[in-house]
Subunit: 288 residues, 4 copies
């Protein structure tokens, strides 16, 4: 969270509270308005790309686009003005997203079609987690993130192995299938693309093997893909389990055990239904 400049005047402090925080009524209202504006502006960009809708509402969309761009530009400048370290904010993730949310409109003067990039605004919606019960959601996101981070080495090993497999099998399929007259396997990169499409069980069907040998190799790849999808799932599950366990362990308790020390021998964890210490038989303090 960017900090407020220390010697800030009352107005600047007030603006800072509204724009950056969301635990005051005004800050919360501002954030909700902002989310609504972001979602609306992204919807405008998306609808504008549909030819039939663009034909009818081109002008309205243009006005809306510029209105949102000017609003977001003003907001960006205000954020830069009230924050203590503007450069640091400008280089942070949200600072870059905020800038990227307005730049494409200006760039579209020189490069027609650059407005498409305005959908990067959708990244600003991630602020939504700040509004809705900040702490709890961040904990959830952190648990997920930590689980993924601590399995990143296993995942890297996994991804390198998968990439090696699809490269070798893609080349083999090219060697087998490319001689057929109307084969889809026109080059090794395309064959590797097909191998990934198959291994991940996406299976577009724009390219598919025609020869019996190619179909047999495809079968091996499919069953392989069906099996190895188990690996990342297993990794993440174990890490999530460990993360859940670690939380419990930090609290000093076995899963399901309640922290209730024995007054005589000090044994700390007892089952929820225990009335006497399981080690020294002393009565335990009052049950729930």
């Amino acid at each position: 969270m960017p900090e407020l400049a220390p010697a800030a005047g009352r107005l600047r402090r007030r603006i800072y509270d509204v724009v950056f925080l969301s635990d005051t009524p005004a800050g919360r209202a501002f954030d909700l308005l902002l989310i609504a504006a972001i979602v609306t502006s992204v919807a405008v960009v998306m609808l504008d790309s549909v030819a039939s809708i663009h034909a009818r509402h081109a002008e309205a969309f243009l006005i809306a686009e510029w209105t949102f761009t000017i609003l977001f530009s003003v907001e960006y400048l205000v954020r830069l003005a009230v924050v203590q370290r503007p450069v640091r904010y400008a280089r942070s993730f949200y600072g870059l997203v905020d800038l990227g949310s307005v730049l494409p409109t200006f760039v579209s003067f020189f490069v027609p079609g650059a407005q498409v990039l305005l959908v990067v605004r959708i990244l600003r919606v991630l602020r939504i987690f700040r509004i809705l019960k900040l702490a709890t959601y961040l904990t959830e996101a952190e648990t997920l993130g930590r689980a993924l981070a601590s399995s990143r080495r296993k995942i890297l090993v996994f991804v390198v192995t998968v990439l090696t497999v699809v490269t070798v099998i893609g080349a083999l399929m090219y060697a087998i299938e490319s001689r057929l007259p109307d084969s889809g396997f026109t080059s090794i990169p395309v064959s590797v693309y097909w191998a990934v499409v198959t291994l991940t069980t996406v299976g577009y069907g724009d390219i598919s093997p025609q020869t019996p040998l190619g179909q047999a190799l495809a079968l091996v790849l499919m069953i392989m893909g069906y099996g190895i999808i188990a690996v990342p799932t297993g990794i993440v599950t174990v890490e999530l389990n460990r993360a859940a366990g670690a939380t419990a362990a930090l609290a000093g308790a076995a899963p399901g055990a309640v922290i209730r020390s024995c007054p005589t021998c000090g044994l700390a964890t007892h089952d929820a239904d225990a009335r006497f210490c399981k080690r020294c038989a002393a009565p335990l303090p009052g049950q729930r």
Copy 2:
């Protein structure tokens, strides 16, 4: 379960037992008949939508449809009549489904084709859990439901992240692919649709990238989808595991507990290292 009106006469009580309960022979028979009628009526609606079958049996289907509608309407009115709080029943989930099961036939007088909505009757089949050993199945359903409910925050974080990813990648694909003459990426919404089809590994193949850059981005999206399918699976597994543990704890047995009955109070499960009964403090028999 809707309650019976307290000052109900004998007939009304008898009808209530048959219609709402299923632990008497009559109630059970009624429920089985009802399920059969529901499944048959849904099958009629489904078959009636097949042009070739409709051509031959249109009249028979019309008669069947009205017969079932009148039967279910009568049943609905009877339920309203015998229940203690008719308004509460009418506004409950099953009350609304029961009403929704007959309304479309009447609506089809004014809006032809509304009969399609009669398939909502299939929701009535969920009553089946009440017939087949009620308690056990409800426990299973509750365990599943509780596991999903307690992971709903993690799931929300996950869904918002996924939606952000598909929006950004969909827009990028539109920017890359839309200029090709016969590209399927005709607008950003369609491209986002494609991104979801790919990320979830459904892969219809009605739209697929043609340019090398687009195919490379598709590869990233596929491998991403292959990996992040691990996240909801991991979440649900951990929650189910925790739920299973909680159930075991409710039954008085900690995971890993050994069955060793206390000779004084008879409590059957104690930790492997317990020397005294945790409930009555009597010394436990010698560890094996």
Copy 3:
């Protein structure tokens, strides 16, 4: 395992050992030969269905088919002859499969094309588990089977819910899409078929929604399918975990603990690296 008739002569006993058991050299050799014959005969049936191969080798295939059928018929009759309770064997799973492996050839006299059903012979290959270290594989299969069996109620709840969802969404898609001129959603059953194809992430692409509303509903269904695939995975994982734990618990040991009783206080489980009892400090018997 079918039992041998008690008052069997030497020859009959010898045949029984060869045909039904696989722990003698002769029995093992017979089983391996049998597996080879089964796989070859299934391969013949499969290749015979390929038009181009059939054209060239029709006669050879016919001879092979009859040779295998006669061989398997003789084997079936021998099995019936040496076993103690022929009726019980004939009505067991393997007995029915053995009969089903020869019947189609005879039936094909009257119903041309019935030979296709000869692939049911492949079920005989399941005997392979008996040859390769019987006990261990059966244990694995039983662990899998028990895990699936004890989650069958959760799985039933899950399947009924999924069927209800696809029926309702299929009908909605029919209502939305069927009016388009060249829509694939020609009837409710076809729409339900599409819904299952989408929910399970198979995604053939032979039918796909054309209207924006239909595509939006398809998106919901896909993300749903992506999410709820987590449920059966979670269920099976938890059950397998419990099965693994139960095995360990039966042995009286915590996961990872070694069974090595303290000679002084009798505490049964200690970590693999423990040299002294953690409760009474007596030295533990010799480490591994």
Copy 4:
């Protein structure tokens, strides 16, 4: 890791260190250069297969291919020269891959198109794990490998069952669908191919059932596939979980162990209920 010849001269020892080890600066630099050369040479082979690129740069690619082949051949000979047991190295996995990385170029003199097999070079990239913090990554790879290895029997049972299912269902689909005029189910092998494509949820859509009965059978197969994908995932998760526990045990910490150092021998982890050090029998400090 191949060993150095014991009576090696200084030069040979120096070359061995550079070529086979990666913990010296020179060895590390050599390995990084090697990886870069491998990736570049594979990229050349892949791009060379794209017709439009080949047309423009055929000559440059030919030169690059021969340069890399000569470089890798020299490297292979050097490896053979400095290692203690050349035959053992030549027959090891990496020895065979190193040889396979140069052979296809020479073979392409006699068999045009054999260069495609040069992509086998990508397997050399697996050496990358040796460069980037060897030990840690190998542990991760080993954990994955051990988890897969110890569930190999369950996986074999699973694969045999799946193959039996697809063979039987493929034959049934052939019996049902093959009579239609433009059916894709032209033979049993093709139908089995379709069954695997469907069961693994790949779903190309190049073949799909047309008859109601065929579609119903396809539905069963899809829901089956959706369900049994849970089995390998469950197996791998349980094994990874067990492996994680075993690793923790090797590090001296049982899952759930509390960090409480022994004042005498310093062993850091003891069970929560331990009163004496399990290694040196000294009394442990008071339980918190």
